[in-house]
């Protein structure tokens, strides 16, 4: 047994203790890991966008989005772009070891991300009330019978691809806000997230799709609590930079969803 251990050490341990080979990609492992995750996640969104384009090109595609929807989506885009700038500032502050400003910039990024989610949620609610819906959605009392209701029954791919793509993206933004909250506030973020989840659940009416969707926050709370209690640590500049990579990725994905889903479906 001891001989086998010695042979294993000789086979694996090429370097003397305390010396390490230079990393192949010139970056620390967490960053390479995040890049690999983002590369794989980009394929998820790529497949969804390809599926959307497939339907968009080969179907008589409706163009229902009026001025109100486009203005709303443009403000959402500006929020995400601004959040990327504040995220860059947070990375700079972390590199200076300026903890107060790192936290402040991360909170600013979270505020922009939250604004994006709230605006998107309001738009979803408006569209569902107008009649754009999927079979699994709760039936609203004020369900409309206009253009959107006709589209839902005539071209069901429209609602399926719209809600599928934007829900996937909204989920990523929500996870991003929780991720940044954990990095910025650590365990202090857990009660805040708990209050937000409970408040949102009680405030959103039962016939709204987000009445149940808000439980994503509860799931985020449980996962964050497990991570924070099993491996408590003081997040450093590397962690802030890696969380920034994830955040910029959700911004990047929106740069394709916004023109393809919204601007290609504007009402003339």
């Amino acid at each position: 047994m001891a001989e086998a251990t010695l042979q294993h050490t000789a086979a694996v341990g090429h370097e003397p203790a305390g010396e390490f080979e230079a990393p192949l990609f010139g970056a620390y492992s967490k960053k390479v890991g995040m890049w690999l995750f983002l590369a794989s996640d980009s394929l998820t969104f790529g497949a969804l966008l390809f599926a959307f384009s497939y339907n968009r090109i080969y179907t008589a595609w409706p163009t229902p989005f009026g001025k109100e929807s486009i203005i709303n989506a443009t403000i959402m885009t500006a929020c995400l772009l601004s959040s990327s700038l504040t995220m860059v500032m947070a990375v700079f502050a972390a590199q200076r070891n300026d903890r107060a400003w790192t936290r402040n910039w991360l909170l600013a990024t979270m505020a922009f991300g939250t604004a994006f989610i709230v605006l998107h949620g309001m738009e979803w609610t408006h569209l569902i009330h107008e009649g754009l819906t999927l079979p699994g959605f709760p039936k609203s009392v004020e369900h409309g019978a206009g253009d959107y209701a006709t589209i839902s029954s005539g071209v069901p791919q429209f609602a399926a691809t719209f809600f599928g793509l934007t829900a996937m993206h909204m989920l990523h933004v929500t996870i991003g806000v929780i991720y940044l909250g954990v990095v910025a506030l650590r365990k202090w973020f857990l009660p805040i997230l708990g209050v937000i989840w409970l408040g949102a659940y009680l405030a959103i009416p039962a016939d709204n799709v987000f009445h149940y969707g808000v439980h994503a926050l509860l799931l985020g709370l449980i996962v964050s609590a497990i991570i924070l209690f099993l491996k408590p640590k003081d997040y450093d500049a590397h962690d802030v930079e890696v969380s920034g990579l994830y955040w910029h990725f959700v911004d990047l994905v929106w740069m394709f969803i916004f023109p393809l889903v919204y601007l290609m479906s504007t009402k003339v």
């Binding site: 990393p23 192949l24 990609f25 010139g26 970056a27 620390y28 960053k31 390479v32 890049w35 590369a39 980009s42 394929l43 790529g46 497949a47 390809f50 599926a51 384009s53 497939y54 090109i57 080969y58 486009i70 443009t74 885009t77 500006a78 772009l81 601004s82 990327s84 700038l85 995220m87 860059v88 500032m89 990375v91 700079f92 972390a94 590199q95 500049a237 590397h238 930079e241 920034g244 990579l245 910029h248 990725f249 911004d251 990047l252 740069m255 394709f256 916004f258 023109p259 393809l260 919204y262 601007l263 290609m264 504007t266 003339v268």
Partner: protein
């Protein structure tokens, strides 16, 4: 541990990138409203603008421009190759539906 990526620390360039992204978004919205192009041409123009915007985000905000060449090329080539393969899976099949019809 390896240092956090070091790069040109002038913050000004990030504000320029942010401004450029907002400007390109404004052009996209304007094109969307004016409907200058036919849908296929419109799709091409919007996709081109989106690719420019994504290059700015990946290069500057995600700092890929400042990483080692092997890291840059590994990410860009692998993801692009996957998208190209995905394209060849999706669209010839869609074209086949147009030519042969749905039975």
């Amino acid at each position: 541990m390896h240092d956090v990526a070091k790069h040109d620390d002038s913050k000004g360039q990030y504000f320029w990138v942010w401004g450029a992204l907002l400007f390109l978004t404004a052009i996209e919205v304007w094109l969307g409203y004016r409907q200058i192009f036919q849908p296929v041409r419109m799709l091409q123009v919007l996709l081109l603008l989106s690719i420019i915007k994504s290059a700015l985000i990946i290069g500057y905000f995600m700092h890929l421009k400042f990483e080692k060449a092997i890291m840059r090329w590994m990410i860009v080539i692998s993801v692009t190759a996957c998208f190209v393969i995905m394209y060849f899976f999706f669209f010839p099949d869609a074209g086949r539906i147009l030519r042969l019809g749905v039975k």
